[in-house]
């Protein structure tokens, strides 16, 4: 049972991250490969507060969310100046810089040794240490994220974002605030990533830089592409599917010595197949 729960918890955390990535990459068209860095900042902030005992879970998550909003706005700013692939490389740079900081800033992050012993989340003075309890927390967080995402896509703001992606110049010419819309979307994406980081740190109780590296950012992009860009259901399906994939692949009988490499190989092949035959993902709109 705990296996199922831990799968659900991790998937729900990644749903929040998938929403965050989808908002930037799919909805606004800011091609970010550094969402894992923002996720990490959220995780470390919550970890630090809970370990030092200065704040309890909810206020700590709130601080993390605010910090991640600011950070995400800051790092998406270059996208206003440089477009397309230029920003991709800038974003790669931001991700690598974040990893270097997580690894070397021992005082704030525990450095490469990581941060062990983060206490479980607490709500109204009660510690939630059972897996089932944490599942409830992550479910509420993911549900709130989904609701916010759904409301935004339906609101006039969502239509404005869509228009910006399709023809930024026309929107600007029509006198609509392109800058403000992009910054608001980045802020919301930051909040999602910050909350996800908080739940992640308290569930795993141990965090280190390997969870927030370039591979993690690329995994997030993959989740969005496979699930489907720009739709709520795409952002939900992607994480559930991609976290289940390694488990499903173990069902294929391969000699143990090669099993792990073969799984990664199949994973790569799936990405190619998706790009070629279903670029809109399973439940998304055409990119």
């Amino acid at each position: 049972m705990d296996y199922l729960y831990s799968y659900l918890i991790l998937s729900e955390i990644y749903v929040l991250l998938g929403l965050s990535t989808n908002l930037l990459v799919g909805v606004v068209g800011i091609f970010s490969v550094s969402q894992a860095a923002v996720f990490g900042v959220g995780a470390y902030i919550v970890g630090d507060f809970l370990l030092s005992g200065t704040l309890s879970f909810l206020p700590a998550v709130a601080v993390a969310a605010v910090a991640c909003i600011a950070l995400n706005v800051l790092i998406t700013l270059p996208s206003l100046r440089v477009a397309g692939d230029y920003f991709v490389v800038t974003s790669f740079g931001i991700q690598l810089l974040a990893t270097a900081t997580f690894t070397n800033w021992t005082w704030g992050t525990g450095g490469a040794n990581g941060m062990p012993g983060v206490p479980p989340p607490d709500l109204f003075g009660m510690q939630i240490s059972s897996t089932r309890g944490i599942l409830a927390v992550s479910t509420v967080a993911a549900a709130l994220g989904c609701l916010a995402f759904w409301l935004i896509l339906r609101a006039p703001f969502g239509r404005l974002l869509k228009a910006i992606r399709e023809d930024e110049l026309a929107v600007a010419a029509a006198g609509k605030g392109v800058l403000r819309a992009k910054v608001s979307a980045a802020a919301l994406a930051g909040a999602f990533a910050g909350v996800a980081g908080g739940v992640y740190a308290t569930y795993l109780s141990f965090i280190d830089p390997t969870s927030f590296d370039l591979d993690a950012s690329i995994l997030l992009l993959t989740m969005v592409v496979v699930g489907g860009a720009r739709t709520l259901w795409g952002s939900v399906l992607g994480p559930f599917l991609l976290l289940a994939l390694p488990q499903l692949l173990t069902l294929i009988a391969i000699p143990t010595t090669y099993a792990a490499t073969m799984q990664q190989l199949v994973y790569g092949a799936l990405l190619i197949a998706f790009a070629l035959f279903r670029p809109q993902g399973l439940l998304g709109e055409r990119l």
């Binding site: 690598l96 270097a100 070397n104 994973y267 790569g268 790009a275």
Partner: protein, 286 residues
């Protein structure tokens, strides 16, 4: 002396990275594909050469064989992956995902066939140390710097001095115009991928000749190379080459003034600031 040796090592490693950057820039400026799987082609070259050398093939022939293998792989990726995607009007994100998938397939295939262990070339000359007035360089390092600078010279001559090179540059400058003037951009794209794959095979073999082969070892060089390409200004091959050298030399020399754990971070921090203020690169052409 320390300064000089750091400088020399930086130029050696930088010239290898420079060829990665030049070959990547060649592809990017013509096809507009952010070809991450180039890191896989780079890695494959090293493993092919290693297999050939182990089978008793002389080193130079092994290099040629590895280049041929890379040409086939690069052309195949263009012909069977990027070209169909382009025909379907796939978004950049989708092409990037396909390229990442290809990279994962190549890396893990190599890891499955050759094991993830670091493999060493058996060639004795590569480890021989030559003293050049106080500097100490190995055979592999001298070969790296010689071959890579020669390759860069060849690329410059090819791009600017030959008809084919001019045709490629024409396609790069304006694909739409190229289409209607019968320059056949699709065939040019395959050709460019083939040439760039052969080029990237050189540092892909010579680097590991010096310090060993790893299946997952191509990503960091490629990432640094793309930074060089963008900072140098897309479309400027010389900019990509010399900025790659400059970046590695600076990373090496930065050790004199700060601890090494920050050198990669600082490189990228400088790059980000740079992108904010001079997003079109140092030597951008137009």
């Amino acid at each position: 002396m320390l300064l000089l040796q750091l400088l020399a090592n930086g130029i050696v490693t930088g010239s290898a990275l420079g060829i990665v950057a030049v070959s990547f820039a060649l592809i990017y400026s013509t096809t507009r594909v952010f070809h991450v799987a180039h890191a896989g082609v780079f890695t494959l070259g090293g493993y092919l050469a290693w297999s050939l050398v182990r089978a008793g093939v002389p080193d130079l022939l092994a290099l040629a064989g590895a280049m041929a293998g890379c040409v086939v792989l690069g052309a195949a990726i263009q012909r069977f992956l990027y070209a169909p995607l382009e025909r379907r009007g796939a978004a950049q994100l989708v092409v990037l995902i396909a390229s990442l998938g290809t990279l994962a397939v190549i890396q893990n295939l190599l890891a499955a066939v050759y094991s993830p262990d670091i493999l060493q070339f058996p060639s004795a000359w590569a480890g021989h140390v030559f003293g050049l007035g106080g500097l100490r360089l190995t055979g592999a390092q001298l070969a790296t710097v010689g071959v890579d600078f020669a390759a860069f010279g060849w690329v410059m001559w090819f791009a600017h001095g030959t008809l084919l090179g001019k045709r490629i540059r024409a396609v790069a400058a304006n694909p739409f115009l190229a289409e209607i003037t019968r320059l056949e951009p699709r065939r040019v794209h395959v050709l460019v991928m083939a040439i760039a794959s052969a080029l990237v095979c050189l540092p892909g073999v010579l680097g590991p000749l010096d310090y060993g082969l790893q299946p997952y070892g191509g990503v960091t060089p490629l990432l640094t190379a793309t930074i060089a390409m963008i900072a140098g200004g897309i479309g400027s091959l010389a900019g990509a080459f010399f900025l790659a050298i400059a970046i590695v030399v600076l990373q090496n020399l930065s050790l004199l003034v700060m601890p090494g754990e920050w050198s990669i971070g600082v490189t990228f921090a400088i790059f980000i600031v740079f992108m904010l203020f001079r997003p079109r690169g140092l030597f951008a052409s137009g």
